[in-house]
């Protein structure tokens, strides 16, 4: 007789009603906080995410399930609100790049130290590259890399054509890859 350790197949929980703020918050708050915190830090992220749920509630009648799921729609609202924090985001990235860049001229004492220094150099380069991206490219890249949305979901979230998502993502990733490669093996 064949046996299996796997249980019954998981049934996807239905999405909450957009009018049920508590349920929507419970389901998606952590995803949005993770995304926004990475971009603008914890304190500003809490402010932006709270506002995201307020805006979503007030505009719930504009949510069309036929055009996509609730979470990408929330990411779209959140991303729009984050644009008001652009200066904060860019400043944070530059500070991060500057802090990590202090290791650029550090000589590692051993192999393990060398790995750590290389990692910090990568951080500096990626942070600098991210800070230098045009706003749309950075939005698309972070929705793809951090929020893990699909192309079509990003298009719906930002209200831009699918082709624009593809080209913005391609350009952004090319710059990040170049920044990483610029370090290369030392």
């Amino acid at each position: 007789m064949l046996t299996t350790d796997s249980g019954p197949p998981e049934v996807a929980e239905p999405p909450p009603d957009p009018a049920d703020v508590g349920a929507v918050f419970d389901r998606y708050a952590r995803d949005l906080l993770r995304y926004a915190t990475q971009r603008v830090g914890e304190q500003a992220a809490e402010d932006v995410v709270a506002q995201t749920f307020l805006v979503a509630y007030e505009q719930r009648h504009r949510f069309d399930p036929a055009r996509g799921d609730l979470l990408p729609w929330l990411y779209g609202i959140c991303t729009n609100l984050l644009r008001r924090q652009r200066r904060t985001e860019v400043r944070n990235l530059r500070l991060l790049a500057a802090a990590a860049a202090r290791t650029e001229h550090v000589e590692a004492p051993d192999a393990r130290g060398s790995e750590r220094v290389d990692a910090q150099r990568s951080v500096a380069r990626v942070a600098r590259a991210l800070a230098g991206l045009p706003r749309r490219q950075r939005d698309v890249l972070l929705l793809f890399a951090v929020a893990e949305l699909e192309y079509a979901e990003i298009a719906a979230a930002l209200g831009i054509p699918l082709g624009s998502v593809r080209s913005a993502l391609h350009r952004a990733r090319t710059k990040i890859k170049s920044a990483l490669a610029a370090g290369g093996p030392r």
């Binding site: 709270a50 509630y57 990733r173």
Partner: protein, 358 residues
């Protein structure tokens, strides 16, 4: 995490060491959301926005039920366990004529005015006046069914609620859903939320949004003055008609503290409603018990308050999708709803000395 390309990994790992959001961060965000909504309410009130107050939201999320009606003590109706066979309703259609006060609504029907007058006449025969001693609370046992709506379809499920209110502002102190404490969990910061609610009360004073025993007792008994007072409390929202908002808020007042209404105020409220727009009348039968349903309709949404014709107490409320766009299904075999509605609730109210008493 499904995307592992080095460039995406590098982007995702900025800044290094960033942890997942903490429970504290989630709670703070919820608190911000609540506080911001409360501030917004001062200038713009929407019938549903109060749901954003977490403690109130938890109290309201999917309230519902009805059961055998057993008239008991002042202001309260005792509902046994929900062993109900059928909950049926009949309601008059919306009239074609528009209202004169608010042309966006239909005129209130003569049948609704007659039903309200009959209830008011019954109410003013009452003698029971509940006086709260210091420290006493209101306990509300609500039985009901609510639709869990997703993508235009709602499954109606049984949801009991047991709520203890501080009568000063009707601030919920404890909320049970069956045995489950609804004030627990990661997004609960009960003390802060209660403090915030009390601060709102202190800043804005009691109103139909946050009634107090003193506010209820001070309401004018002249129906026209009373209606003007209620309408004045809910102005500032263009999304819904003022009378729709008044009706929604009053359904919440009844759900929290019907037990505190003095007979003359209860009668005055019923007569004040006769001056509102968009009201129609009907009845709800809970097995063999008849309740009077007064409904206010604004576009596709209708709220009903259920009155016991024997006492004129408000004993329940319902939400009906009259647009016909919501497809409802029942999650259980009993009771049989005819027709099925998005929300149906009745309650029992008692005065208690602590949140451990019910």
């Amino acid at each position: 995490m499904t995307r592992t390309d080095p460039d995406l990994h590098a982007v995702r790992d900025l800044p290094p060491g960033l942890a997942d959001p903490t429970d504290a961060s989630v709670s703070r965000t919820w608190y911000l959301l609540s506080a911001r909504q409360t501030a917004a309410q001062a200038g713009s009130r929407h019938p549903l926005l109060r749901l954003l107050l977490p403690i109130v939201a938890a109290a309201l999320v999917g309230v519902v039920t009805v059961t055998a009606v057993n008239l008991a003590g002042p202001g309260g109706v005792d509902f046994a366990a929900p062993q109900i066979g059928t909950i049926s309703a009949s309601h008059q259609p919306l009239p074609a004529e528009h209202a004169t006060h608010d042309p966006s609504l239909t005129r209130t029907t003569p049948e609704a005015i007659a039903a309200l007058e009959a209830l008011a006449h019954t109410a003013e025969q009452g003698t029971a006046i509940v006086t709260l001693a210091p420290g006493q609370l209101i306990h509300v046992q609500t039985n009901g069914w609510a639709a869990h709506v997703s993508e235009g379809t709602g499954q109606v499920k049984y949801q009991p609620r047991s709520i203890w209110y501080d009568p000063e502002g009707m601030v919920p102190l404890r909320l049970l859903a069956g045995d489950r404490d609804m004030f627990g969990g990661p997004r609960s910061d009960l003390e802060a939320e209660q403090a915030q609610a009390r601060q709102f009360l202190a800043e804005h004073g009691p109103s139909v949004l946050m009634p107090t025993p003193q506010w209820l007792a001070s309401l004018p008994t002249d129906p026209a003055q009373l209606l003007a007072r209620l309408r004045g409390d809910v102005t500032g929202n263009d999304s819904w008609a003022v009378d729709h908002q008044v009706w929604d808020y009053m359904s919440q007042v009844y759900a929290e503290c019907d037990i505190l209404l003095a007979p003359q105020v209860r009668a005055a409220l019923l007569r004040a409603y006769a001056g509102m727009d968009g009201l129609t009348a009907g009845e709800v039968m809970v097995d063999d018990t008849r309740l009077v349903a007064i409904r206010q309709t604004d576009r596709g949404t209708a709220y009903e308050i259920l009155f016991d014709p024997v006492t004129a107490w408000a004993v329940g409320r319902r939400t009906i999708d009259v647009s016909g766009t919501l497809n409802l299904t029942s999650a259980g075999s009993t009771p049989v709803f005819n027709p099925l509605v998005a929300y149906h609730a009745t309650w029992t109210q008692t005065i208690v000395s602590s949140t451990d008493e019910s």
